[in-house]
């Protein structure tokens, strides 16, 4: 059939790929609409939409030459038409059947791309299922098994019921309406491309963390230096050591320069942090998808559970429009399945019990997504029996996890927080979900995403599990391995290969090179070099080495967490991540590993100070704007000046009495003592008679220029100051 089409094979393959995506989306709409109705027959408008989507699918399938798909879509469209007629063939299992068909069609399309023969068998099965949709089933059993009137089947979208908002507008046109709202234009991008960008952005995060730690160290150093200097000054004053005074002054200047440079660096890192944040958020937004897919998944899971248990329970969903990072949403599928199982197995009472307690016979599980500040919150609540905190408290004591005293002090919330950390409400785990064990899995998955689980419960009224996740996660690729019983990570971009390292060697062959070996089992554990071990080939700034480890765990996507100021001096660690079970795993800094075997490699703090600085002299910058002082400090610092700063003329004058300066850069308008007054004072002092003085000002009128000239000012620079303007001013005669 495809021979008759006007496409070359490559083009056709691409078109079919596009069709597959389109078909997935279309079938998902059908699934969502059917699930939205619970077990009830969809309304006329919904059916019309389902038919329209299927019809469009038929046309598209024809265009790309997929004849079987044309036939299947046609049959499905006809079956929907039959459902809409009276008497309708709709029965208790029809909704499930439709979902099976849409799921089947999607699987069929995927198979078609790889195994056409298998796909044809699937097509035959789907054809048979479609035929059953249009077949009238026993109506008596319908009303017997599922009793809800259409109003009772709470479902997507029902925000109106809780929030008092008007219901989502339902298509109200006659049943033959075919006009669809103008579709938004979308860009289809292969997910891999975005993932690649995401991982680059993740790398930036590593880089930033590394720089930040260096600067934190610098700050500590500069504080130490200031302290040492103070000590020195005390001695000098006490002992009247005049010659040392000058050296001390030098030291003071250097200390000030170091601290100012560090402060400027910190500002720049802050700017970098913001930019990286923007970049990551932007990328994440590209990958965002609404909570609808998760909700559809939940509806499907609940249907399966309902069939398995015979319990009567409906799903209510809220906040479907809330957006999640696709990667995060994928990680939420299992936890949500678990929570739904939990609710059905433990939360919901039998219909008889519910009626006896004055509740509706049909239980409701509510799934609600919302954004709360910087958090995404996904709540799964049931209106079941709630958790008996007294029993849970007893179990915590019985199992020896809590002491009597602790249990007495703990609030109900504390007790609920202990759920899923190894305690189950029921004495023995149920086959569907031991409430404790199941929640354990949920907690792990959420911890891995950097979030947490909050449990709240009211006895007799229900239980709610709130999954609280960070809105943007700092995901990065890393290679994980075990050393001395602990798992460590290295950013994946710096891990180029793995290999096996012989016992007792200090060099090994890897990637056609002889590379030095760093024994991590010695550095991080108590291991010896006496056996063959797996090795990780690490490269940084053009230098490589092989790190021996106990066991390679493999590449993983991890969330980067800062280690905090206390661990900053331990430069071996760049940051940390949290495992699925909530354990902290340290991330090794590849720069440090490389340095241990290549001592000349860059990246050590000492390198910063070993650079000989050509000193231009000591400068005093006087300006009431902190930003300008910082900017000038940084610019002059780069030219080799030791810079002191003063916020006004009075302070500057005070400083010049203590120290000589080789350059004074001053603003004109300042509180206390203005620029011209300062200069006038300075010129009266013998030490400053000929010192170069540069004025920086935002208003330079002829009168100013004349006064400046009279006072022997070297140059007058108009704000904003650029490096070029400053250099010109310094060079002026």
């Amino acid at each position: 059939m495809s021979d008759e089409l006007d496409f070359d094979p490559e083009e056709l393959a691409m078109l079919r790929q596009l069709f597959r995506q389109e078909a997935h989306d279309a079938l998902e709409i059908v699934t969502a609409r059917v699930l939205a109705g619970g077990s009830a027959r969809p309304g006329a408008e919904t059916l019309t939409e389902m038919m329209r989507v299927t019809h469009t699918l038929k046309g598209a399938a024809g265009t790309v030459g997929l004849t079987t798909m044309v036939d299947l879509s046609h049959r499905l469209e006809s079956a929907f038409a039959a459902v809409g007629r009276e008497p309708s063939p709709w029965g208790p299992s029809t909704a499930d059947l439709i979902v099976e068909v849409t799921d089947g069609l999607r699987a069929y399309l995927d198979e078609l791309a790889v195994e056409p023969i298998v796909a044809e068998q699937s097509a035959a099965r789907i054809r048979e299922q479609i035929a059953r949709i249009a077949t009238v089933t026993d109506r008596a059993s319908y009303s017997e098994i599922i009793a809800p009137s259409p109003q009772d089947s709470l479902s997507i979208p029902t925000s109106a019921l809780l929030e008092g908002e008007p219901p989502e507008p339902v298509l109200d046109a006659p049943s033959d309406r075919m006009d669809v709202p103008e579709p938004k234009s979308y860009l289809r991008v292969e997910p891999e491309r975005i993932d690649a960008l995401m991982s680059s952005a993740g790398e930036l995060l590593f880089d930033r963390t590394r720089i930040e730690r260096r600067v934190q160290l610098l700050r500590t150093m500069s504080r130490d230096l200031a302290r040492t200097r103070q000590g020195l000054r005390d001695v000098i004053e006490r002992e009247r050591l005049q010659q040392l005074g000058e050296t001390e002054a030098e030291l003071a200047g250097q200390a000030a320069l170091l601290s100012q440079t560090t402060a400027a660096l910190l500002d720049e890192i802050e700017a970098l942090r913001r930019t990286i944040g923007d970049l990551q958020r932007g990328l994440v937004r590209i990958r965002m998808e609404s909570a609808r897919n998760l909700m559809t998944h939940a509806a499907r899971t609940l249907r399966a559970l309902r069939r398995a248990t015979g319990l009567k329970v409906e799903l209510r969903t809220l906040g479907e429009e809330t957006e999640f990072d696709k990667a995060v949403a994928e990680q939420l599928v299992d936890p949500i399945t678990q929570l739904l199982r939990n609710a059905v197995a433990h939360g919901i009472e039998s219909p008889e019990e519910r009626v006896a307690r004055g509740k509706p016979a049909i239980a409701t599980v509510t799934m609600r997504a919302r954004q709360d500040g910087n958090l995404l919150v996904l709540e799964v609540s049931d209106d079941g029996r709630g958790i008996d905190t007294t029993a849970l408290r007893d179990r915590l004591i019985e199992t020896g996890r809590w002491s009597q005293a602790r249990a007495q002090l703990a609030t109900d919330n504390d007790v609920l927080d202990a759920l899923g950390t190894g305690v189950s409400v029921r004495g023995d785990a149920d086959e569907l979900a031991g409430r404790g064990i199941g929640l354990d899995v949920v907690r792990q998955a959420i911890a891995r995403l950097g979030g947490e689980v909050k449990v709240s419960s009211t006895p007799g009224r229900g239980t709610s599990f709130a999954l609280r996740l960070p809105l943007s996660t700092s995901l990065a690729q890393a290679m994980l391995f075990k050393v001395g019983g602990q798992v460590y990570a290295i950013p994946a971009v710096h891990v180029v290969d793995t290999c096996v390292v012989d016992a007792n060697v200090s060099q090994t062959q890897a990637r056609h090179e002889t590379l030095p070996v760093l024994r991590l089992e010695g550095l991080l554990g108590n291991g010896t070099a006496g056996e063959r071990r797996p090795g990780v080939v690490v490269t940084f700034a053009g230098k490589s080495l092989v790190c021996t480890v106990d066991k390679i765990v493999g590449p993983r996507e991890i969330i980067i967490k800062p280690l905090g100021p206390l661990l900053a001096p331990l430069t071996l660690y760049a940051a940390a991540t949290i495992s699925g079970s909530g354990k902290v795993q340290l991330i090794l800094d590849p720069a440090q590993l490389v340095r241990r075997v290549h001592p000349d490699a860059p990246g050590e703090v000492a390198d910063l100070t070993s650079q000989p600085m050509v000193l231009a002299g000591r400068a005093l910058v006087v300006d009431d704007s902190r930003a300008i002082r910082e900017a000038m400090t940084s610019m002059l610092g780069r030219e080799g000046w030791i810079v002191d700063v003063a916020e006004d003329g009075a302070r500057a004058l005070q400083m010049t009495r203590q120290l000589r300066y080789d350059l004074v850069v001053t603003d004109l308008e300042m509180p206390e003592l203005g620029g011209f007054e300062l200069i006038a004072h300075l010129r009266k002092d013998d030490r400053f008679k000929t010192t170069p003085i540069v004025i920086i000002t935002s208003r330079a009128n002829p009168e100013h220029r004349r006064r400046a000239k009279d006072l022997g000012v070297r140059a007058l620079v108009a704000k904003p100051i650029t490096r070029r303007k400053l250099l010109e001013a310094l060079a002026a005669k």
Binding site: G564, L566, K583
Partner: protein, 137 residues
């Protein structure tokens, strides 16, 4: 001048200590403690608390006494915040909260037994110092 201090009284090893409540964020049971190789004994490891990574400190080591056993999952800990740093202090037992009178740096509990009143600011500074020293060697 005697002053009234609202403190939490706790025991670590043979020592009994008090720390003012205003520094204490939480009393927690430690989760899995990850050892930090190359760190000094005063830094027993790191833990994950609500998604944040906290260092676990050994009070005895910070007071230049022999360090206690390394912290383990299930140990009690006080979460302190000082000097812009949040850290966990491993404890063997939390006794009670009390208003005690400080007299020239000395506090005694209700039974008249002396307690060491801790200054978290100094503890954090000391911790940074010993970690820096360990990193340098």
């Amino acid at each position: 001048m005697p002053e009234l201090r609202n403190v939490i009284v706790f025991a670590v090893g043979v020592g009994r200590y008090a720390v003012e409540l205003r520094w204490v964020r939480e009393v927690v049971t430690l989760g899995f403690v990850t050892a930090v190789p190359t760190a000094p004994a005063a830094l027993g490891g790191v833990v994950n608390l609500h998604g944040t990574i906290l260092p676990v400190l050994d009070v005895a080591a910070l007071l230049d006494q022999p360090a206690g056993p390394p912290p383990r999952q299930g140990d009690g800990a006080l979460v302190l915040e000082a000097e812009g740093t949040v850290c966990a202090l491993r404890v063997d037992q939390v006794d009670h909260v009390a208003s005690l009178t400080e007299n020239e740096g000395a506090v005694v509990d209700a039974a008249g037994r002396p307690l060491t009143l801790l200054d978290p600011t100094r503890l954090v500074r000391k911790a940074l110092e010993v970690v820096t020293m360990a990193a340098a060697t």
